[in-house]
Point group: C2
Chain length 540, copies 2
């Protein structure tokens, strides 16, 4: 029997999706949407871009207003209203108006929790300074935009997705930007070597990059704030953006006795049902399945939140016919000036930390046919299990990174193998793609490793003494590989006598392709030949 009263806590991505989907199922159900902030259904992923002016019109970010949701979806929208308690036995939620403090009790047949996650604010000395901001909603955005207009120097703490977007956008406003990250790399979701082009892009633009350092304290000065770092460095800033991560807003659920995961996320089944069959949870506050390795995952991203909201509503109205949520693989992407980087599935660092057996290769390819104007190099790292199943991928480059990530995200969802990647038939005309796309090439390389044709060397630092740079002499001279001797590929067969057969030969080139060719020649002549992955483009 269909419910007559649905209450939804949280009116942005997951909550708004659940409300809309529920209304498609029924015109008769009363749907109450409770939101603590003044806004519903806004484009939270767009906030940095309005601060930087790339989205000039603030109105673009308000996908729906409360009045719009009332008119289009016939919702009972209650903004500036906080849910304070759930009475599971009586199926009631108590909500409090932030405007006048009055409390109301809302009865429900089904309750959907979409409270989201809130930015971390660690209890550091000086953290209460009004110069320190986090970015979660339109109000935060407005405050930061106003403060940035008065600021000359801005420090961003945390170089994850939001930190990087903010660095780019605040630089675009002409600010002196410093980016501080506790780990020795930006974008810690990715393996470190894949983030180097982002770091270079930041440095090239004049962003001060402080890696492997954290905040000890914030010291107020007359007209600015001094950030005292763990290294002892003092970094003055007019404005500080804190973007070091989020924690799930699961207090309401916890207080109601709902089951939580180890890091405080609300536990749900594949239909987003919590440990109480009348309560659902969606979005950043809940746990989900990791379909790649069968573990649990918590992914704070808009795409999963939207789809989970839809599934919760389907489960309520379609029952057994509703399709389950298959879990999240964590596909994510960020643009940093002219570079784009992203990930789908597991990183090498995570696989290593969990002791999961894997293989990996890194290849370069062209965003579209290299003979057609505008082609840019994409570096693609692929990770797979010993049985060939794809576990993850990372890509970085100036164009076409999103497409390659999406192709591999699709392949992961389909539990496809590296051989499947090799044989993907992707769209090819010179302005788009390649006869052998970089995704195919990654699949070829994986097959070559399995078949013993490619002995890969992931890092130049791992190479032994005999490194041969097989690029043309001019390229090798322009950008020398430390410790390498130059023998261009075209001369390799005739100069093979110059090499020492008693020790391995490590070949390197510009893109990692010619070095493979060279290693094949040498291996077929009886050498222990290994190819340094990604070439000088990736290694230097």
């Amino acid at each position: 029997m269909n419910p007559t009263r649905i209450v939804i806590i949280g009116g942005v991505a997951g909550g708004a999706s659940a409300a809309a989907r529920a209304r498609r199922h029924s015109e008769n159900v009363h749907i109450t949407l409770v939101e603590r902030g003044p806004d519903v259904s806004f484009a939270n992923c767009g906030l940095p871009y309005h601060i930087g002016g790339e989205i000039p019109d603030r109105g673009e970010l308000a996908i729906q207003t409360p009045a719009g949701l009332r008119a289009l979806l016939n919702l009972d929208v209650r903004t500036l209203t906080e849910a304070t308690a759930i009475n599971r036995q009586r199926r009631e939620v108590t909500v409090r108006s932030l405007a006048d403090g009055t409390t109301t009790v809302l009865p429900y047949d089904k309750l959907i929790l979409s409270p989201g996650a809130s930015p971390l604010r660690p209890p550091l000395p000086g953290i209460e300074s009004p110069r320190i901001h986090t970015l979660r909603n339109l109000e935060d955005m407005d405050r930061i935009k106003a403060a940035a207009a008065q600021a000359t120097s801005i420090a961003i703490i945390g170089a994850g997705f939001i930190g990087l977007e903010m660095a780019e956008q605040l630089h675009a406003l002409g600010k002196q930007v410093a980016l501080v990250e506790l780990l020795p790399q930006v974008l810690p979701q990715l393996d470190p070597e894949m983030t180097r082009p982002l770091e270079q892009a930041l440095r090239d633009k004049g962003v001060r990059l402080i890696l492997g350092d954290g905040i000890k304290s914030f010291q107020p000065a007359a007209d600015h704030l001094d950030l005292v770092l763990k290294s002892g460095t003092t970094l003055p800033a007019d404005l500080v953006i804190l973007s070091i991560g989020v924690r799930p807003e699961s207090g309401l659920a916890r207080d109601a006795g709902l089951e939580l995961g180890p890091r405080g996320h609300i536990r749900v089944d594949p239909w987003q049902v919590t440990s109480d069959p009348n309560i659902y949870a969606v979005g950043d506050a809940c746990e989900t399945a990791d379909p790649i390795l069968g573990q649990r995952a918590a992914i704070a991203l808009g795409g999963p939140a939207n789809r989970q909201g839809r599934i919760a509503a389907d489960r309520i109205f379609l029952g057994e016919k509703a399709r389950p949520y298959p879990g999240s693989i964590g596909t994510a992407i960020v643009r940093v000036f002219d570079q784009t980087a992203g990930i789908t599935g597991w990183s090498e660092a995570r696989l290593k930390a969990e002791g999961v057996p894997y293989l990996t290769v890194t290849v370069n390819g062209s965003s579209h046919a290299s003979y057609f104007p505008g082609a840019e190099t994409i570096t693609l790292k692929l990770l797979w299990s010993p049985d060939g199943r794809i576990l993850g991928a990372q890509a970085v480059g100036k164009d076409g990174v999103d497409k390659r990530l999406d192709i591999i995200a699709t392949a992961i969802r389909g539990r496809m193998s590296t051989d499947d990647l090799a044989q993907l038939e992707l769209s090819y005309a010179p302005p788009f793609g390649n006869a052998k796309d970089v995704v195919n090439v990654a699949g070829f390389a994986a097959a070559n490793i399995r078949d013993g044709l490619l002995v890969p060397v992931p890092e130049l630092a791992d190479a032994g003494a005999q490194i041969i740079d097989v690029r043309p002499a001019a390229s090798a001279a322009r950008q020398p590989v430390p410790g390498a001797r130059n023998i261009p590929l075209s001369e390799l067969r005739s100069r093979i006598g110059e090499l020492d057969r008693s020790q391995p030969v490590f070949t390197i080139c510009q893109m990692g392709k010619t070095s493979y060719f060279a290693a094949r020649i040498l291996a077929n002549h009886g050498f222990d030949a290994r190819s340094i992955l990604g070439g000088a483009h990736h290694q230097l």
Copy 2:
């Protein structure tokens, strides 16, 4: 045991790939590459773009020279040399030099045929005119480029991929371009309604589009050629490009008694082996599997040719370890001025002609977040079998078409379902993709059809009498839908009494989303409500 002599007939995509891959397997095998033309391994997909000047440097198209292949791959390259006969019993190929007419007999252990396909030249009156050109190789390109420089008016016969690329490029040179197509649409590989934006783009640029008409004869005039069309129209042109299709160059194989398919393509097994175990065939001249419906297919495209060449060489050297070619799904794409269109898998027309049961939906989405500058609309048509497996897709739009086709091409390769599409976790940040990408939306729509939430109307012409335009009044007035009454979505609930319950209601909007919302409201109020797919954007 490894072969000692490999002969390859045809030195472009498939042949060059086979040669390169064979050399990676062995330094000891003698590889002879026989090519009828003067060039090997050139970028045949790039030819139109050098004619139009978008690839200014001709040298970019010569990926490898014969001398380069000799130096890098130690190949015995014989250009301007034609294979005239195969003696299968003696394992010998007879080749003839086009330079001096001498013949040579080349013994082989393994023979790889990569002869390609040649442009059709139907025996029409006047076809021998030197003003009529086809485009296959660099020599053709040079001839057309020289002739175009002297021409004012150019007629292109055949509006497939090459015809469309040539129309765009010759228009860029400032020529008066007419494009003649026998069928009543451009790009006959796609369903007609998906090609409308291309036709509009051509007309907007001033290309004269003559659809549903063919050539009766070519009549030489003093300083031009008159094309007499079947309709009676006479079309004068200084230069004619014939691009009506290709036929496989399988004469050598046929004369040698190799098994051919119904349309003259060389029959091969999944490892590219012909009916003679020592002869392989790859590329445009051979048949392959259709992995979608288990039929045979012949796909004249560069990607498959390259991968087949690799597989033939792997089979020769790796034997049982070599992975089979999984067949071709026919992914293809074309840019026509600011529009891009493409296909992967089966079209509706083909499914209908073969009597294969299918379902279909057409949706619109945005190339990236609609609130971020530069977003363009993508129209995506999805086809699937009653059990949910994806059979094909077509897309058209100004940006991001290649990405969506590649995602679905990957899903087809993985035999994935529409529910899988709904749950794809694609990369999303405002400059890239969407929280709910158009690919997800197509999956949602398929689920809605299955679950009875969406009753789709593919064509406005199929709608009954009661059509309701649910756009805001201003939009509806600006671009009226013939026969429709305007009731904006926000007024629908209060004005529901104005509708006639005794007959179906057909809803339409701008993009096909709001009309679905409206149909859900009406259906939940007991109406027979159906949504017209793709909205005014697609239908008008």
